[in-house]
Symmetry: C2
Subunit: 348 residues, 2 copies
């Protein structure tokens, strides 16, 4: 059973993955787990029996589970960081806090096509991916042990991807992560002060000033944030206030597909398909938010979901680890201008 | 002039290094700044005229500055992230906060010998390095614009080092970094509750339980922390309470030299000289601490300086960026046992 441990000094939680304990020799020579024959991909069409049994797939229809014919497919991670079965087992160990590593760790296979990046997909495929995110979040919200559902994508080996086939991951945790708590606290403080959403206020300022905007459509805006940690960091916000991604309508997901594809394609074109991470910042489960002082007064009017895309162009070193702040060599105003000016075209 | 910007959502500061603005093309093909002929090192003995003029060197003696004959030497970083001259220029920009990127960025050249790693140095050389740290911190404490002095080392390209020659860096910032504020807050809360140092309490528990201890001498202990973020992460603490590294006596630095060398050598031996970062976590400048509510009651009895060594064996990916928590595949109890059991030997 993996274990969750809390640092009493930094109040941050760590997953200790005790089941695949790594010895020094495992880190030498960068050996990889064998994943079958070279060139074999368990996520490709026709290899459905090489993954753990599927949890979800689109489109819905007459297809048998774990057979060909899907356009998106969700399976448990074969090497999960957290285990789905069991009790939380919260314990104090002297000055320390621990609990069992309960949660979910799923792989969302974005397409049967091994080589199709998100920036080059059709809108209908991207909408299907976004509907898959929505469906998995909505389902896991029912598990009362889980406090937070994190959707994230690692693209490229330097961004932590261990398989090439286009995929997103979902990790559900029994605690609200520290970075999310900080966002919630800022948003809540702002709301108590002004009775307005901090994110909405920032968007209003950004849309008026324009210099950090990458693109916008009727319902979404992509921008390089004022205090970007990384060169060409790009965030996508719904223009209309919404705390929970999972309440998005089909229409809204359709607009998001256009905005997300456009941003990824601009980054890929300007920077020659760099490795990147993206993370969906969503409101925590209600059970979790309820524990946050003052939450009930806000009725979800304070938090605003969004996507953060982080190209991995610079190395994070001792300075960043030691302080939690970052050196970014590219001012976001310049990054936004480059991304705005780059020429992109799409299959549809 | 570089700029410091604060994210209003995560309340984290970022350095926007406006002077060396990077265009997309600078990130393609991983071009490096030219640093003279291949094989040339500006930090080697005899090349003193190839660095900016030196700030400090040891041993003190009759030597002319910027000539041969030093054992440690401190120079300004040629490409500083922060500028030493100027006013802070704090400003609000709508919902955002900014200030000028004032601070110091120095390179502490650890030895004239290009190939000598810390784990293989003599104790007298290591003591000289630690005295150099102490001298630079003590000097910069006099600059009232500066709130925090960070000493850190990046070893190996994967840990962010751009030059091979053994060196440490110092960055002095006009704000207290968020990660440090969190440590201070935890320590202060604990002190107000118990009138004891949180770190001292943790050390007492660790020394009694022993399972995460790597090594100890009369005055220092090296251990793998309970909630280690990274495999084989190792922290070094003085056993006796002290908030400020810069108050360490020569005797204490001598003992630290033994403990630090031992820990680095164990990591290098067990893991085949992995890339690593280490960071000295020191109490902020008094000016900075004074702003922390409740500080004056504690008289420095709450904070406890220490060194955090982080081998870079795993990749940080979307999950970590999105949540601020970490997946560590090696339980610290096992890491500590491996490091305890590995055989090491030293030149003196």
């Amino acid at each position: 059973m993996p274990e969750l441990r809390k640092d009493p000094i930094l109040r941050r939680w760590v997953i200790i993955a005790t089941e695949r304990a790594r010895r020094p020799s495992d880190f030498l020579g960068k050996k990889k787990d064998t994943k079958g024959p070279v060139g074999f991909c368990p996520f490709c069409d026709g290899n459905e029996d090489k993954t753990p049994p599927e949890i979800f797939a689109l489109p819905h229809g007459n297809r048998q589970p774990n057979t060909s014919g899907w356009r998106t497919r969700v399976v448990p991670n074969k090497y999960p960081a957290l285990a789905i079965e069991g009790d939380l087992g919260r314990q104090g160990v002297g000055y320390y806090d621990r609990m069992n590593g309960i949660g979910a760790h799923e792989v969302l296979i974005e397409t049967p096509d091994h080589d199709l990046e998100m920036g080059d997909m059709s809108i209908s495929q991207l909408v299907m991916i976004l509907k898959t995110y929505r469906a998995r979040i909505s389902d896991l919200l029912n598990d009362r042990r889980l406090r937070y559902l994190l959707i994230f994508k690692n693209f490229g080996a330097a961004a932590g991807a261990s398989l090439e086939h286009p995929h997103t991951q979902l990790i559900a945790t029994p605690i609200t992560p520290r970075a999310v708590k900080q966002e919630l606290q800022s948003a809540l403080d702002h709301f108590h002060d002004k009775e307005r959403c901090l994110f909405c206020d920032i968007l209003y300022q950004e849309l008026r000033e324009e210099e950090r905007i990458v693109s916008a459509n009727d319902h979404f805006v992509a921008l390089c944030p004022f205090a970007s940690r990384f060169p060409f960091e790009t965030w996508i916000f719904p223009k209309k206030h919404a705390a929970h991604f999972s309440t998005s309508s089909d229409d809204l997901l359709n607009q998001l597909a256009y905005c997300l594809r456009d941003a990824l394609k601009r980054i890929a074109t300007a920077l020659d398909s760099p490795p990147y991470n993206f993370v969906l910042h969503n409101s925590p489960n209600v059970m979790s938010r309820a524990r946050h002082p003052g939450y009930w007064q806000t009725l979800d009017l304070d938090y605003h979901w969004h996507i953060e895309i982080m190209p991995r162009l610079t190395k994070v070193a001792g300075f960043e680890w030691g302080t939690g702040f970052y050196i970014n060599p590219t001012p976001p105003e310049q990054a936004a201008k480059y991304l705005r000016d780059v020429k992109v075209s799409f299959p549809d």
